[in-house]
């Protein structure tokens, strides 16, 4: 009798194997379905971001979910843009697993506009979008030549200088923000000269600035000439903005004025907590970072002054990939999130500065943030800088070129003791490799 039971047994086994294989294969695709269509008929919108964009922190998602009961919002954060951006590109290419709303960093926006434009919804034509509420240059950055707007501006990075009052005082420097801004106004050399004074009487174990790269980025933020010219040709070798930034960074590295930390590394975070450096270039989005990493001990010790030149470092856009499953809902969400009222809430919580000037008159930082920076007039400082920022030309590989200069060139001089000439040569070689030349 055992023979007759064997055949069904075998069939069952085949069925089981087939079912297993089937479910394994299906596993890849069914995952997306369940996550975007909750069991209760709700639409889940995935928002892809990097770093701390502040939308969630300001409670905007919760607010939107409340007014739109059929929507659930899920934020997928990747810590750093250099890990987030390749993933975004891969998703756009394959059309699979794309977020319904995707953040785009300003140094990548030109590449996205020029090479990925067709893969995004035109938000310029979306309902409720008023072009005039956004900064003109911010709008243009995300718009293709034939007038398609692939991303709406979230924040910009007007760049001030944050400094530690207590350390400045110990080193015998002025601590008043007006006085300091006047002392170094218009010229980064004056800032470096103040650094030399600081180093003469520097409190034990502290340096003037966190890293030479920070100085490079701050100076470069105000550059009129960046890595590309208007026609899209690379001019990083001769660009005046690049040269000024490089020279300032080299002076800082040469004078041993930096703590030699690499920005966004864990050791950099510790540097904040242990008060290892007296100044740090301070784009608006950095203000939230400083509060978080320095912690309660830094309250009232940090202050903020205008930098020698006005500039913009960083900033973000929100785009809606066409491959998303809920384009209509996603577009509505992206439009809502980038309205002036919403961006003002992000500023209040996180100090990320809105790209919608109509909000500037009513902007208020939270009392905690203001107190943290010794009651500095944060809104006025950033708004003033934002108004005076030169309009900048971005290119295809801005992000990678910048990274090659700071993480290869500047770092070789600062940490490996190479000469500025050697550092620049290494950076150039790296850039050529990046550009595939």
């Amino acid at each position: 009798m055992h023979t007759s039971s064997r055949r069904p047994g075998r069939l069952v086994a085949i069925a089981a194997v087939t079912a297993l294989a089937g479910s394994l294969l299906a596993g890849c695709s069914s995952d997306d379905d369940t996550s975007s269509e909750g069991g209760d008929g709700k639409v889940t919108l995935n928002v892809g971001t990097f770093g701390v964009l502040g939308l969630k922190q300001a409670g905007l998602y919760a607010e939107y979910e409340k007014s739109h009961p059929n929507i659930k919002i899920k934020e997928n954060v990747i810590e750093r843009n250099d890990a987030y951006y390749p993933k975004l590109l891969t998703q756009l290419q394959s059309g699979a697993g794309v977020n319904d709303v995707a953040a785009i960093e300003v140094s990548n926006i030109t590449e996205v506009v020029q090479t990925q434009g067709a893969k995004f919804e035109d938000l310029g034509k979306a309902e409720g979008v008023d072009k005039s509420t956004y900064l003109d240059w911010k709008w243009k950055q995300a718009t293709t030549e034939d007038g398609k707007t692939v991303g709406l501006g979230v924040d910009i990075g007007p760049t001030a200088l944050c400094y530690r009052k207590d350390l400045f005082k110990k080193a015998g420097l002025p601590t008043d923000r007006e006085e300091l801004a006047k002392e170094w106004a218009g010229d980064w050399d004056k800032y470096v000269a103040l650094g030399e004074k600081y180093m003469d009487k520097a409190p034990d174990g502290t340096k003037f600035v966190d890293s030479a790269s920070s100085v490079y980025n701050a100076v470069f933020a105000g550059a009129k000439e960046r890595y590309y010219d208007k026609s899209g040709k690379e001019i990083y070798e001769d660009s005046q903005g690049r040269k000024d930034a490089w020279d300032a960074a080299m002076k800082v590295a040469d004078g041993d004025m930096s703590s030699k930390l690499k920005q966004f590394d864990p050791t950099w975070d510790q540097g904040f907590a242990n008060a290892k450096f007296a100044t740090v270039a301070c784009p608006a989005w950095m203000a939230g970072y400083i509060q978080e990493k320095t912690g309660p001990e830094g309250k009232g010790q940090w202050d903020m002054a205008k930098a020698p030149t006005d500039g913009n470092w960083g900033g973000t856009f929100l785009g809606v990939p066409s491959a998303g499953k809920h384009k209509k809902e996603a577009t509505e969400l992206a439009v809502w999130l980038t309205q002036p009222e919403q961006l003002a809430k992000v500023f209040a919580k996180q100090a990320s500065f809105p790209s919608t000037p109509s909000a500037y008159d009513t902007l208020k930082p939270s009392p905690a943030t203001k107190a943290y920076f010794n009651d500095a007039p944060i809104t006025e400082i950033f708004a003033d800088i934002a108004k005076n920022t030169p309009s900048a030309v971005y290119g295809l590989k801005d992000a990678q070129i910048g990274q090659s200069i700071t993480d290869i060139g500047v770092l070789q001089v600062e940490q490996q003791g190479k000469s500025p000439a050697q550092g620049w040569e290494a950076a150039q070689k790296e850039i050529k490799d990046v550009l595939g030349q």
Partner: protein, 334 residues
């Protein structure tokens, strides 16, 4: 029981007619010919169905990517535009062979591989020998050995990054207490390679020790007894009994570790912190794996990244061939 008899019994139950003659059965039961065909099909096809999942998965996740990567390596292919590729033949390969970064990465992969694999296996052998003694709480020790292997690459690397921090890291603090100047572990060339290796050693030593231990316990005990009778010390027993008996196992771990070292990626990436794919300001600890990632996903040159992948495959095949030769030599020696 033979297959035909089995068939007869199941194909025509209740009929009492066990004759397997096809003509008779067709009259007796109209379904039986269908059944017989189904049965024959079953006999022929089910083995294929059983092995099919492996081949399907291998085809989808092994073979296809391999061939596609080969195709991509002959094209100029950008991460920003996968549909627009131009045939450039072997240009990616010649560019790579001319690139300083590629040779640098190859050299780093080799040196990091050596300074992580050699001490790792030596220490593992020693630990396995110790664990092979009768110990109190031996299971506890064995589990403890495996604990580092169970931690994720990410957490291990992050902890080691902090330990090796230039300013305020524990390693510099310790060597500072005996009067040695702090070392910039990440930016010095040998220092960074040592630090990356230490993460690998820490994670994999216990794993290899357990493999050795398993092999040691299979060594017949009378070999030790007779060696002891001949007056061999513990050390002599280890050298003249344990090591020779473990030779195939050692060869196996060497091969596995070599493959692992060739593909080293997570540890140096995370050790590098921000912009980790560059492997330090001077690419001083950029391995082939990191170089591939940097080319493909940071710089967007997917074609060139594919060429790196195929060169890595070629290197691994070369290692496998060398291993085969050594293994054959060892077998002859016996």
């Amino acid at each position: 029981m033979s297959e035909t008899a089995e068939y007869a019994e199941t194909a025509s139950p209740g009929e009492g007619d066990a004759a397997p003659a096809a003509s008779g059965r067709r009259k007796a039961s109209p379904t039986s010919s269908w059944r017989s065909r189904l049965y024959r099909w079953d006999i022929k096809a089910s083995p294929y169905v059983f092995v099919a999942p492996f081949f399907l998965f291998f085809g989808a996740f092994g073979l296809f990517p391999l061939l596609y990567t080969g195709w991509a390596s002959m094209h100029r292919l950008s991460l920003t535009n996968l549909d627009g590729s131009t045939w450039i033949g072997l240009e990616n390969y010649t560019n790579l062979l001319r690139s300083d970064y590629f040779w640098n990465a190859l050299g780093n992969t080799f040196t990091i591989g050596v300074i992580s694999t050699v001490p790792q296996l030596a220490v593992a052998l020693g630990i396995a020998h110790l664990l092979n003694y009768k110990l109190r709480g031996s299971t506890l020790w064995r589990v403890a050995m495996l604990a580092p292997y169970a931690t994720s690459v990410a957490s291990a690397s992050l902890v080691f990054t902090l330990l090796f921090a230039w300013d305020g890291g524990m390693v510099n603090w310790i060597i500072g207490s005996v009067g040695i100047d702090p070392v910039n572990w990440r930016e010095s060339s040998w220092g960074s390679q040592f630090a990356v290796s230490s993460i690998v050693i820490w994670r994999w030593t216990g794993y290899n020790a357990l493999i050795y231990l398993a092999a040691m316990q299979a060594v017949p005990h009378d070999l030790y007894e007779s060696a002891a009778l001949d007056g061999a010390s513990r050390w002599q027993q280890f050298r003249h009994v344990t090591i020779p008996m473990l030779r195939p196992t050692i060869l196996f771990t060497v091969v596995v570790s070599t493959i692992g070292a060739t593909q080293l990626f997570g540890e140096p990436l995370l050790f590098g912190g921000t912009a980790g794919s560059k492997g330090g300001a001077d690419h001083q600890f950029q391995t082939l794996g990191l170089y591939l990632y940097d080319q493909g996903w940071i710089n967007g040159h997917l074609g060139r990244a594919s060429a790196v992948a195929w060169l890595m495959l070629a290197i691994l095949l070369l290692i496998a061939a060398v291993n085969l030769l050594i293994a054959r030599r060892l077998r002859k020696d016996r």
